[in-house]
Symmetry: C2
Subunit: 278 residues, 2 copies
């Protein structure tokens, strides 16, 4: 683990590390915000944030405006990159596939399967690494994300509830099996067997898993330019059928971007803080 | 004035406009944050933010994390670009000169003088335009900035105290006549006559103008990688000689970037709010 950037921020440190990832078969970077309490060697709760298409490990740190409240709440924020990267990694034909578009799943077929193992990377390799390298409070780790990363957060939380105790999302791709972004990614990474797809589809998963969380928070802008990709209503119906409480908030006038995220980021951090201390 | 981007943000709007600038002889863009009160047609105070080298009209909006408190304080935030832009505009041999490096002065010699008229652009043309197009409270306009834009804010406030009622800066180039960035910019834009330079040097200007403001706030990181370009101590001495109150705060561990700015942005907005309502 090599520290490649560190900036003092609200008396804590916003950092970027480079690692050699076994699961991604190559280098990867991740960001981490360490509040002052963590720098002082005291254990803190942590929340993973999974970013959306085209983003990197630093997008959230620059654009989401989370550090101020994270500093107050003593929350560690962990931000993986959105895919494997590098010259040897498939670029993809568009920004919705390949580099910057890993979809937080493990690819099952060529040319993707060699590097695109983002589920194992986030939920296993990076999860273990940060728990080993930083003082993180046991049983106080949450996960949230945006768009493709909202899909990632919901599905990883539903798959690994023993690892992630709280989950929320902004403008999540809630039913990837039923939207163009998800169909393209899943057919490339997983193949054409749609039974396989449903294992990585939050709307299908929540019905299978049942009520795992006290609450799930999703914020959605009603002027979101990608609204047709997101399907929050399908997820809401599945949660209802599964008995999973969902707080789905729809916001007049807000779009898909980080100006929307920054407007509601504090509610998400407070939500995780409350869930992790319940 | 053409609206080219608008994003809902904390119940207000973060916008970018494109204009044909007379003073820059070409197109220019500026950002503006309008809190909800302004959208509702009520007059609000406004603060100009001048960004540093390489930045654009959107850097502050993305990275400074100012909108949340601006929404609470009903402050309009106005962010010009850092230079003229375009194919017909001199690019410069490095990022410290030419496009992205206008230094908020009027160039006096070729090849710069045709477009690089940033002082007139900000203090006259854009100032008039925003006062005409938006409901801004009379006598409640402040200015602040970062690095090159800190130099811009200090000098424009000292030159036009009737226009700017409050002034602050992050990591300002406080004595451009005495640092490499300033020497390069001033010799290019103004020529070799150093008497001319002093008209655009905050450390010289404050001595000439005397005490114009109740207080000036400057935040400076002590791990700033460009510390030798900034000379806050020279400005402090000049303020002392001029009887101008200066609150210069030096912060252990903070560097030159926006993670530093976001850590103290609220203090600056509160400072302007207080000064503009005194």
């Amino acid at each position: 683990m090599e520290l490649i950037q560190s900036n003092r921020c609200f008396n804590g440190e916003q950092r970027i590390y480079k690692i050699n990832s076994k699961s991604l078969t190559g280098e990867s970077k991740f960001g981490i915000y360490l509040p002052k309490k963590a720098l002082n060697g005291e254990a803190c709760p942590a929340v993973f944030f999974l970013a959306g298409l085209t983003c990197t490990e630093e997008t959230f740190a620059i654009k989401a405006h989370a550090q101020q409240l994270a500093a107050q709440l003593n929350l560690i924020l962990i931000t993986p990159d959105t895919s494997p990267r590098g010259e040897n990694v498939e670029q993809g034909d568009h920004w919705d596939i390949g580099q910057g578009a890993g979809f937080y799943i493990n690819a099952m077929q060529a040319p993707w399967s060699e590097h695109f193992q983002m589920e194992t990377f986030v939920a296993d390799e990076l999860y273990s690494l940060v728990n080993q390298e930083f003082l993180i409070e046991q049983n106080r780790i949450g996960i949230f994300g945006h768009s493709m990363g909202g899909h990632g957060a919901l599905t990883l939380a539903l798959k690994y509830p023993e690892k992630f105790k709280s989950v929320s999302a902004f403008a999540a791709i809630c039913a990837p099996s039923q939207c163009p972004w998800g169909e393209k990614a899943f057919s490339n990474y997983l193949g054409e067997n749609k039974t396989e797809w449903l294992k990585h589809d939050a709307t299908a998963l929540v019905e299978e898993k049942g009520a795992l969380f006290t609450d799930i928070l999703i914020d959605q802008g009603l002027k979101d330019q990608f609204y047709s990709q997101l399907n929050p209503a399908l997820f809401e119906q599945s949660c209802k059928r599964a008995g999973q409480k969902l707080t789905l908030r729809e916001h007049e006038g807000y779009d898909h971007g980080y100006y929307f995220i920054q407007s509601f980021i504090e509610d998400h951090l407070k939500f995780h803080h409350a869930q992790l201390h319940a």
